[in-house]
């Protein structure tokens, strides 16, 4: 069985890509836009790497994944909330479903809802954007169903507060002060109101686990919360928690693309050195012909 497998992989990961790149560069009848070749190659290579490692993981190979403290703490936090008989508060960020941060936040909500169903704690999800509320209800209902506890799902606990950033922060602060949750999750896209929430959470004595891709808010979460998923860790969290081979494979692919980025940075530095001692006269920016609008 192994031999055929290699042929299939060979065609899939060598034949097809080379063929596609050839078509792209021949550009029959001006099918493709000119000018963003570098972006095309970059996206093509990264997608290829992801796909390669997803298939490798699916074919049974398991990869080592370093433990991330914030993810291990999620289970403990939900357990603590059950022991103390208080609730778990999940804040899915304040931006809409057109942001990848919010989508990742709702996916993590699905996993946390699964844990809450197991521990029979109660989950409270105040939402800032109505669409996110609908998506959150969808993924929580599914998580409770998968754990075989659809009876525990309480639809009124996933509700809309308001669309405004600071009114939402005021509303959630009020919920925290009066409900005194033992575990608070901040997973999604946050702006200036992150510290308002995190400081109130810490004054109520809750375990706080934050995760966001908004780089300007990570410092506030780092100072005010107990655990933080920093940038890329936040996006990888949904794959980590699902544990399925495909997802773990894609993170492995992500690491290799990161290795490629490091190599390219090294190349650019080497190139700029050669330019300086004028062994080469390559103009780096022409190589990175990037125009976002063409």
């Amino acid at each position: 069985m192994k031999r055929i497998n290699i042929n299939k992989d060979f065609i899939l990961f060598f034949g097809l890509p080379v063929f596609l790149i050839l078509i792209y560069f021949i550009n029959p009848s001006q099918l493709f836009v000119t000018g963003n070749e570098t972006s095309f190659i970059a996206i093509f290579i990264s997608c290829l790497t992801f796909e390669f490692f997803i298939r490798k993981a699916k074919s049974g190979e398991n990869f080592y994944m370093r433990p991330i403290p914030a993810m291990q703490a999620m289970e403990e936090a939900v357990g603590r909330a059950t022991e103390m008989g208080s609730s778990v508060l999940f804040v899915p960020g304040i931006s809409g479903l057109d942001e990848i941060d919010t989508i990742s936040g709702v996916i993590i909500l699905g996993h946390v809802a699964g844990m809450v169903a197991e521990y029979e704690a109660d989950l409270h999800v105040p939402c800032c954007v109505p669409i996110v509320m609908e998506a959150a209800k969808e993924s929580c209902k599914e998580a409770y169903l998968k754990k075989g506890r659809p009876d525990l799902y309480n639809d009124s606990k996933i509700h809309y507060v308001t669309d405004d950033q600071f009114a939402y922060a005021a509303g959630v602060n009020g919920i925290m002060l009066r409900e005194k949750p033992a575990a608070v999750f901040y997973q999604g896209k946050f702006y200036a109101e992150s510290l308002l929430l995190a400081e109130t959470g810490s004054s109520v004595g809750a375990i706080q686990i934050a995760g966001t891709g908004s780089s300007s808010q990570i410092p506030f979460f780092v100072t005010a919360c107990d655990y933080v998923l920093i940038g890329e860790e936040f996006y990888a969290a949904s794959a980590y928690l699902s544990g399925s081979p495909e997802m773990i494979g894609s993170i492995k692919g992500q690491d290799y693309v990161k290795l490629l980025c490091i190599i390219f940075i090294g190349l650019v530095v080497l190139l700029s050195f050669f330019n300086f001692v004028n062994i080469t006269q390559l103009d780096i920016s022409s190589f990175f012909k990037i125009n976002i609008i063409n």
């Binding site: 702006y191 200036a192 300007s216 609008i293």
Partner: protein, 297 residues
């Protein structure tokens, strides 16, 4: 002594809040209590120089992207920049990317007109355009075709009848773009969607929280310097104030009988300094008590 320090380490939040409130309130009530020298940051200098390089008759696009809650930090920059541009007889075009920005822009222009420093007529020296929803789409639209995004100015006069608008069709027809940002859309979107691809000089004044994210753009030259938060505003205000004092009698665009006033950011800096110092003292106290309490047990 030791356990006094330890007790200091666990100050109740409310006392910290009270001290912060006083440290801001007192300098505001008695502004000339503390007079501190202003040291100009290199990024502010780059902004001042790139504006000074502009020639009279040049066209500058100002993008207002902040609201009332971030006005204390960004509004003084807008006032100082408008004074600097009008003193050099530069044509100013103002677009608004946040719902509250048109109100900010009107207040800024009104404040400039009230100083009677310049004799300005709308439609010839400056033009204002209404808020358009869509964030980066508007910036992309301006980059490609200004006239497709804005059919008329904020009073409703058509583009064709505005003298200032002739041969202005896209961002490439401006000599400089300056963005007052407090979030998204802000200077990053102007870099990504307009000024980088179209190679138009761009600079920005923004709230200090946004500076750390904009620094990579400043370092790589995509942003010509940056006015960073209130200190940036105070430094730029001081440079423009000195520039105007020098130019008062020589420059034709300035009517020299009007009075020159110092900006707001300058007087608010003392409140900032006291509050910052107080915070550093809290941190030191916190660490001292943390050190001794750890030593004790």
């Amino acid at each position: 002594m030791i356990n006094f320090l330890i007790k200091l380490g666990s100050i109740d939040r409310k006392i910290i809040f009270l001290l912060i409130a006083l440290s801001v309130l007192i300098p505001l009530l008695y502004p000339n209590l503390i007079e501190l020298p202003i040291k100009v940051d290199k990024n502010t200098e780059i902004v001042f120089n790139s504006i000074s390089e502009l020639k009279s008759g040049d066209k500058v696009l100002l993008s207002f992207a902040y609201g009332a809650s971030t006005k204390p930090e960004v509004h003084p920059m807008a006032i100082a920049l408008l004074k600097h541009l009008f003193a050099k007889d530069i044509k100013v075009f103002i677009v608004s990317l946040w719902p509250e920005s048109p109100i900010m822009a009107n207040q800024a222009i009104k404040e400039i007109v009230d100083t009677k420093l310049f004799n300005l007529t709308e439609g010839i020296d400056y033009a204002l355009f209404d808020y358009k929803t869509g964030g980066f789409i508007v910036i992309k639209g301006i980059a490609e075709n200004f006239r497709e995004v804005y059919k008329q100015d904020h009073n409703g006069t058509l583009i064709e009848d505005l003298v200032i608008m002739n041969n202005v069709y896209s961002v490439s027809d401006f000599n400089f773009v300056f963005d007052f940002s407090a979030g998204v859309p802000g200077n990053a979107e102007w870099v990504q969607y307009a000024c980088d691809p179209k190679k138009i000089p761009l600079s920005s004044g923004c709230t200090s929280i946004m500076v750390t994210d904009a620094i990579p753009y400043v370092e790589s030259g995509q942003l010509r310097g940056i006015l960073a938060g209130m200190p940036g505003a105070a430094e730029y205000e001081k440079m423009v104030y000195d520039f105007l004092v020098e130019e008062l009698n020589t420059n034709s665009n300035l009517n020299n009988d009007s009075l020159l006033t110092k900006g707001k950011a300058f007087s608010r800096m003392s409140a900032q300094s006291v509050a910052h110092l107080l915070m550093v003292i809290f941190i030191i106290l916190g660490n001292l008590s943390y050190y001794f309490s750890r030593k004790k047990n």
